[in-house]
């Protein structure tokens, strides 16, 4: 246990990096994913194709593979980003594919009559989405979006593979020195569980709030 108590600051620092990675990635994924979902449900065919192609690509390539390509491939064409930024961007881009599908399924869950009624009173496509469909769709999106959040929080550990000093990476560094894998990974695991738990709690809170307004 000394290995943990003697390095509280070091471990917490790693957890902070993990939280930063997760939040940056998640916010990025929410923004990009929503735009993509709008592409996919919209009436413009080229945009629908772009949205579908994006999802099919990023949902089907392992995050680690994409991250290694991003980190070690891009410098060959003259683009070098910091390891942290690379990891956050990769997380966001992969997460966006999942967010897109969650949002799309939420939109599809709104009865088509709602959109038809909105169109009938003369609202444009963007107003139909913004004022009528999305607010209702958001309720059904919460659980899958919480899933995406948890997936990204746990998936952020992949950044350890490219040298970002986040929680998993620092756990590995501690092991190197103290050979206490079981204890250190238990602690790291507890942090991940806590983060996922908080995410799920936030999701439940949102659901309750949104449900009350129904």
């Amino acid at each position: 246990m000394d290995v943990v108590t003697g390095h509280v600051g070091y471990i917490l620092g790693g957890f902070l990096v993990t939280v930063e990675l997760t939040l940056l990635g998640y916010v990025g994924a929410l923004l990009l994913g929503t735009v993509l979902a709008v592409f996919r449900v919209g009436p413009i065919t080229p945009l629908r194709i772009v949205g579908a192609a994006y999802v099919e690509f990023f949902r089907n390539i392992p995050l680690l593979t994409f991250l290694i390509l991003f980190v070690f491939g891009l410098p060959d064409v003259g683009l070098t980003f910091s390891l942290f930024l690379s990891s956050a961007v990769c997380l966001a881009m992969t997460g966006a594919a999942y967010v897109c599908e969650s949002v799309r399924s939420g939109i599809n869950a709104v009865p088509v009559g709602q959109a038809e009624a909105a169109r009938a009173i003369g609202l444009s496509f963007s107003k139909v989405l913004r004022l009528v469909v999305l607010p209702q769709a958001f309720r059904t999106m919460v659980p899958p979006l919480v899933n995406v959040f948890i997936g990204m929080a746990l998936g952020s550990s992949i950044a350890a593979a490219v040298g970002v000093a986040e929680l998993t990476n620092r756990t590995q560094q501690l092991n190197l020195e103290y050979a206490q894998a079981v204890v250190t990974f238990l602690v790291a695991g507890a942090f991940y569980v806590a983060m996922a738990f908080l995410g799920a709690g936030g999701g439940r809170w949102l659901e309750r709030r949104l449900g009350a307004r129904r």
């Binding site: 290694i68 070690f72 491939g73 060959d76 040298g163 990476n169 590995q172 092991n175 190197l176 050979a179």
Partner: protein
């Protein structure tokens, strides 16, 4: 992990890094091309004859160790190690055989105990990482760990170390055109890469605490980071860096080793006289020349000169 294919730089390095990481991620099935010149150690008859030419244990020595008796009974050694370590323990994808200095010693030990001569079946490899080595020894998944396993007092609290059987040291790799870094003292404040499962990270922390250390998982990634200017230098075992630089013309190795890395054989703690038994084995292969022959056939294919004098058993703190 070295091959001419991955040394051309550019996209090839990234692709190779990708492949190796992808494979590492799948677990034990990693297959990595052979280092140049390692053909002699890739499982040919000369390599096999070095293994089977090693000593055999007396019945009395085996009966004195319950650990050795158990290995003899199962007929092979359950080794913890890697199959992606150039020179030390590398799998030949063509034959599926794992060979190298660590692999060879393990096979030699298995031959010493069992007397069997079918070299490919002398050991069963379980892939270990820095995070799992001690635990796999403690819970009895493996009989011994041969994995460029540096003996440290912290590790010796959990497992026993026989040896040291090899002494190495960390050196520095930089880009070919770099003239500012020539020794470890030039690394202050610099960005330095190393492998995440090496002890070089610890050595750096002690010698140049103000260096910014980045840990990558594989040798290829560290090299790519140097070539692409992501880091200023890459620190790892000199033998591995020299073998890398022998095929990658964009990098060079500078300075002399600045650490001492005594490699030991990890054994379960206080169990069945294992440590005494394996140390006796090491003494035998030191004196009958088997150790030197194996060195010549593996590490000696990259490092020129005669085999060094083997380190003294028990000379490292923790052994």
């Amino acid at each position: 992990m070295s091959s001419t294919v991955l040394r051309r730089g550019g996209p090839a390095v990234a692709a190779a890094a990708l492949v190796s990481v992808a494979l590492a991620a799948c677990g034990s099935s990693g297959s990595t091309p052979q280092p140049p010149g390692a053909g002699a150690g890739s499982g040919g008859s000369s390599y096999d004859s070095i293994i089977t030419g090693g000593p055999k244990a007396d019945a009395s020595a085996i009966s004195a160790s319950s650990w050795a008796q158990a290995v003899q009974k199962q007929g092979y050694l359950r080794r913890g190690g890697t199959d992606t370590g150039p020179l030390f323990s590398l799998k030949d994808p063509a034959t599926g055989r794992v060979t190298g200095f660590d692999a060879g010693l393990s096979q030699m030990l298995a031959h010493y105990i069992t007397g069997r001569t079918d070299v490919p079946n002398l050991e069963k490899l379980t892939i270990t990482t820095v995070d799992t080595r001690e635990t796999l020894l403690q819970n009895g998944t493996v009989d011994a760990v041969f994995a460029t396993y540096t003996i440290t007092p912290a590790r010796a609290q959990k497992v026993d170390f026989a040896g040291p059987y090899y002494e190495s040291g960390d050196a520095i790799m930089v880009k070919k055109d770099n003239s500012t870094i020539t020794s470890v003292d030039d690394l202050h404040g610099k960005k330095v890469a190393t492998e995440s499962n090496s002890t070089a990270a610890l050595a750096l922390k002690q010698k140049v605490p103000d260096a910014q250390v980045t840990l990558f998982q594989t040798d290829e990634e560290c090299q790519a980071a140097v070539q692409q200017g992501r880091v200023d230098a890459y620190v790892l075992d000199q033998g591995i860096l020299v073998s890398d630089a022998s095929t990658n013309k964009q990098v060079k190795v500078v300075g002399q080793p600045f650490t001492q890395e005594p490699y030991g054989i990890g054994l379960p703690k206080d169990q069945g006289g294992a440590k005494q038994f394996v140390n006796d084995f090491l003494k035998k292969i030191y004196s009958d020349g088997s150790w030197a022959k194996l060195w010549k056939a593996t590490i000696g294919t990259i490092v020129s000169g005669n085999p060094p004098t083997p380190p003294t058993i028990g000379s490292a703190p923790g052994s």
